[in-house]
Amino acid sequence: MLAKRFLRSVVFATCGIAIFVAAACGVDVDAIRGPKIEELYLVIIRDPDAQLLALEKGQIDLLSDITRPVDIERLASNEELSLSLAQGFHAFFLGFNIRKAPWDRVELRRAIWQAIPRNQLVRDIFSGYSAPLSTFLPPASPYCAEDLEAPPYDLGSARRTLQEAGWRYSNGFLVPPGEDLPLKPMKILSPTAQVAPTTAELAQRITASLRELGLPMDVEPVDFSTLIARLDEHAFDSYVLAWQLSRDPDSLYAFFHSSMDVKGGYNICGIHDDELDAALEALRWAPDEEDARLAARRAQKLLSEKVPMVPIYSRYFVTALRKEWKGAVTTRIATADNVWSLLAMEPEGKMRPFYWCLPEEPRNLNPFTASSAYDWQVLGLIYDTLLTADPETLEDLPWLARDWKVETVSSGDGQVTRLSFILRDDVLWQDGEPFTAKDVAATISFLKEHRVPRFWDAVSDVEAVTVKGNHEITITMKNTSYWHLHQIGGLPILPAWQLASLESWQIWQPIRMIHPQKRNLTMLVGTGPFVFSEYRQGEYVRLVRNDLFWLMSR
C-alpha cells in the first residue's frame, strides 16, 4: 500500500515537472499585457487546514506553498483545481563545526556525505515532493553546477574511506587516527518537532545514518531562538537547517568565506580556506556574468571537495489555483503565484475579484522597514524595480529600465563597476505623475543617506549617481562586481517628491496617510500593477488594478 502510494506520488511529482517544462516552452512574457484582474484580495488565513477548506470551498482562488504531501494528493484529485509544482530556492543542509575535532577532518565529512541516504530520506519523508540535493546551490539557480559529481550513498565505501585515512573501529564507534579512545558523544542541533516536524524527523534519520557509520551522535532538539544563538556562539557540534536562497550565488560567499566567520555572519561551519576564499572573492567581485559563472563553478567544485556542509534536499513548491482562472504563467521554476500570472489571468465568464491566501499578517507595509515575505507579497505588487527575472530562465528582463549596461571603468587607483540604465518613458506613478530618472536617483540616495538596513548591502557601495535627462541614469560603484546590477536593479523605486519630505522613515505609515493631491490614494504610491486600497488588520488587504500601469493597453 505504502509502496503504491509512494509510486503514485513520484509519478505525480515527475509528471508535474514534465508539465511545467512543456508549459514553459509556451511562455512569452513579452506578449503579456495587464493586469486584467480588477480587484485583488489578499485574504489572511493562518491555519493550514482552514486554508485548504477555504480553497476547496471556493473562498480563495490561489493557495501558495502547500507543503504536506497528503494535502497535495488531496488537492490533486480535486477537479476544480490545477496544481503547479516547481523547483524553488529551498536548500537543506547538515552543517559541522569545523573549528573543532573531529569535524576538522575532511575525510570524515566526505564519508558522512556518502553515508546519508538522501534519496531514501526524500522518498520516506516527502513522498517524492522534494529532490535530493547534491550541490551547494539549489538546482533552480542558474549558477548551480549540477554536473559536479556528488558521492552516491554507499555506507561500505564511506567506512573504507575512513579506514584508509587511518580511522579504526572500537565497539562499533570510530577512533580517530593516532588516538586510543573512540569519539566522545556528540549532538546534532535541530529545531523541535513542534516547530519544524519534518526537520526534526530528518535530524533523527540523519543521526541514525551517522551512528551506522560509527559516530556517537544524538539529536538535541532546541527552540529556534536557542538554535540560532548556539550557532552564533559556535557552541555546537553539528546542526541541520533549511535556507531560502536566491537566484544569485551570493549565499556561497556568505556561507563559506572566512570574513563571514564573525558575529552575525553566516559562515556557521567556520571554514577558513585560502583556496576557497580566493574563488569566493573572484565570485563576489566578478566584473561580468561570464566571470561570475566561472567563479561560481570553481567555488562549488572546491566545496564538493572540502564538504563544509552536506547538502540533503531541496523542497519543491506547490501552488493550487482554481481552474476558472485562465492564463496563469507556470514554469519549471515558477508556480502560478507570480506577478506574470497576476498580469495575465482572467476568469472564465464575468470578471470577479481574485482571492489570494496570505498565510500570515502583513504587519508592516512601510517599504523601508518591511521584512517578512508576507509584507512584500503586498508591497511587491505596488512598487516596481528596474529589472525583473525571466520566469523560465531567470535571466534579467527589462522592467522600469528598458535597457542597461554593466561596465568596468577606471577610477583613481583601480577599476569600478558602472551601471547605466535607460528608463521607460511611458511609466506613470499611480497618482498620474511621470516616472523619471530623478525618482531612481532619489531612492538610491535616500536609502544610502539614511542607512536603511534592509537595503544597506545594495547601496553601501554606491559612489555616485548621475542623472542624464529624464530617462537615463548612471550609477558608479566603489568597486567591481557584476552583482551590483541585481542589487540596484532589484530596489523598489519610490517617488522623489515623497522622499524629499519624508523625515521619520523608520515609523512611516504610508497606508494611514492620504495622498495630498489624490484623495482616493494613500501615500503608498508606486508604479506597480496594483494600487493599495484597504488593509483590514487580520482580515485582508484589498488592491485594485492600476489603470495607469505601463503594461495596460492604453
Binding site: Y41, V43, I44, I45, R46, D47, D49, A50, L53, A54, E56, K57, Q59, D223, F224, S225, T226, I228, A229, R230, D232, L241, W243, Q244, L245, S246, D250, S251, A254, F255, M260, V262, K263, G264, G265, Y266, P353, Y355, E361, R363, N364, N366, T369, S371, R451, V452, P453, R454, W456, D457, S460, Q506, I507, Q509, R536, Q537, G538, E539, Y540, R542
Partner: protein, 327 residues
C-alpha cells in the same frame, strides 16, 4: 483603622509585584538566547546590515540607557514602537483588543453561567442525566485538544454544512456599516465563541458540582431543609451563596485571560487577536511589544486580585465581620 492598614499593605505589595514584573520583563527577554537581529537568517543580510538594524532598534545603546527608556515608556503607557511592525505598540494592542474581548468575555460569560447552572443542578440531582452530562462535558473539555474540537466544528459547520464562515470576523467584500456589519460580525463569532463554550463550560460545571455536593451535606443545609424551606431556595439562597467566594475568585482571576487572548482559537478561525500578538512578540523577540503586553497583563492581574478581595466582602459578609473581629 485596621481595614485601612490592610488595604495599605495590599496596595503596597501589589506595587512591589508590579515593580518586580517591570524589572524582570526587561531582563528576562534579554537573557533569553538570541536577539531580534540575530534571529534574521538570510544570507543576503550581511553583518554590516545587521548592525544598522540593531541601531534602528536602539539595541546598540548601553543596557542602562535601554532600561531607563523602557521604564519611562512603561510608566507613561507610551510603549514605544514594535520591532516587527514599526508601529506604536499601543496601536497594535488596541487594534486587537475588540476581537479578543468580545470572543473571550462572551465565551467566558456563557461558559460560566451555563457551567454554574449545570453544576448546581447536577449536585442537586445526583445520578441523573444532568450529572452525567456534566461529567462527560468535563471529561471532553479536559481530554480533547482545543484545535481538534475547533477544526471538527469548522469542518462540520463551515465546510460540510456551510452555515457559518470559515475564517475571520468580516465577510469579503465587507457588508455596509451599521446593522448588516454587526450581524455579519456576530455570524463570524458564533463558531469561535461556541467552540470555547464547549471547551469551557464542563470544567465550570464540574467544579461547581463538587463544591455544591460538599456544601449540600453540611449542617446549615439540613437545618434549612428541616425548616421546610423550598428546594430552590435552599439550593440558590443558602448552598450556592456559600460557595460564591471561590467562584468569584476564579472569575476575577480569569479576567486577565480574557485580554491575553486565545492563540489556538485565533489561529484556527483566523481572528485578529491579542493571543497571536503575544506569541509573535515573544517568538520574534519583539522586546517593546512583549514587554508592554506582559506589563499590562501583570497590571490587570494585580488589579483583579485587589478587586477579588473587595468583592469577597460583598458576596460573603462573614469576611468583613472577621476583619472587624480582628480589630
Amino acid at each position: 483603622m485596621a481595614l485601612k492598614a490592610y488595604w495599605g499593605r495590599r496596595i503596597a505589595s501589589s506595587l512591589l509585584v508590579l515593580a518586580v514584573v517591570l524589572v524582570l520583563n526587561f531582563f528576562l527577554f534579554r537573557i533569553l538566547p538570541g536577539d531580534p537581529v540575530s534571529a534574521i537568517i538570510d544570507p543576503r543580510f550581511s553583518p554590516q546590515a545587521k548592525e544598522e538594524l540593531a541601531a534602528l532598534f536602539g539595541l546598540d545603546r548601553p543596557m542602562g540607557e535601554q532600561f531607563l527608556l523602557y521604564v519611562k515608556q512603561m510608566l507613561t503607557f507610551n510603549f514605544g514602537v514594535s520591532f516587527l511592525s514599526q508601529r506604536p505598540v499601543w496601536d497594535e494592542i488596541r487594534s486587537r483588543l475588540p476581537n479578543t474581548l468580545i470572543l473571550l468575555s462572551s465565551a467566558m460569560a456563557i461558559s460560566a453561567l451555563l457551567g454554574i447552572y449545570l453544576g448546581v443542578i447536577a449536585a442537586a440531582k445526583r445520578g441523573g442525566f444532568i450529572e452525567r452530562l456534566v461529567l462527560w462535558a468535563g471529561a471532553i473539555s479536559f481530554s480533547f485538544p482545543s484545535f481538534f474540537i475547533q477544526l471538527v466544528m469548522l469542518l462540520l459547520f463551515a465546510f460540510a454544512m456551510p452555515i457559518f464562515p470559515l475564517r475571520g470576523s468580516v465577510s469579503i467584500p465587507p457588508p455596509p456599516p451599521g446593522w448588516p456589519a454587526m450581524i455579519d460580525y456576530i455570524w463570524h463569532m458564533v463558531l469561535p465563541v461556541s467552540s470555547l463554550v464547549i471547551l469551557g463550560f464542563g470544567s465550570w460545571a464540574l467544579y461547581v458540582r463538587n463544591l455544591m455536593v460538599k456544601v449540600l451535606g453540611e449542617d446549615f443545609v439540613f437545618l434549612a431543609r428541616a425548616k421546610g424551606l423550598p428546594q430552590r431556595l435552599i439550593l440558590w439562597r443558602h448552598a450556592f451563596r456559600s460557595i460564591l467566594p471561590p467562584i468569584v475568585t476564579i472569575i476575577f482571576l480569569s479576567l486577565p485571560g480574557v485580554v491575553s487572548g486565545a492563540v489556538i482559537t485565533e489561529t484556527v478561525f483566523s481572528l485578529h487577536g491579542v493571543g497571536r500578538f503575544l506569541l509573535e512578540s515573544v517568538t520574534g523577540q519583539d522586546y517593546p511589544a512583549a514587554g508592554a503586553a506582559f506589563f499590562l497583563l501583570a497590571l490587570l492581574t494585580v488589579a483583579c486580585n485587589l478587586l477579588a478581595d473587595l468583592a469577597y466582602g460583598f458576596v460573603d459578609p462573614r469576611i468583613g465581620l472577621e476583619r472587624k473581629m480582628e480589630r
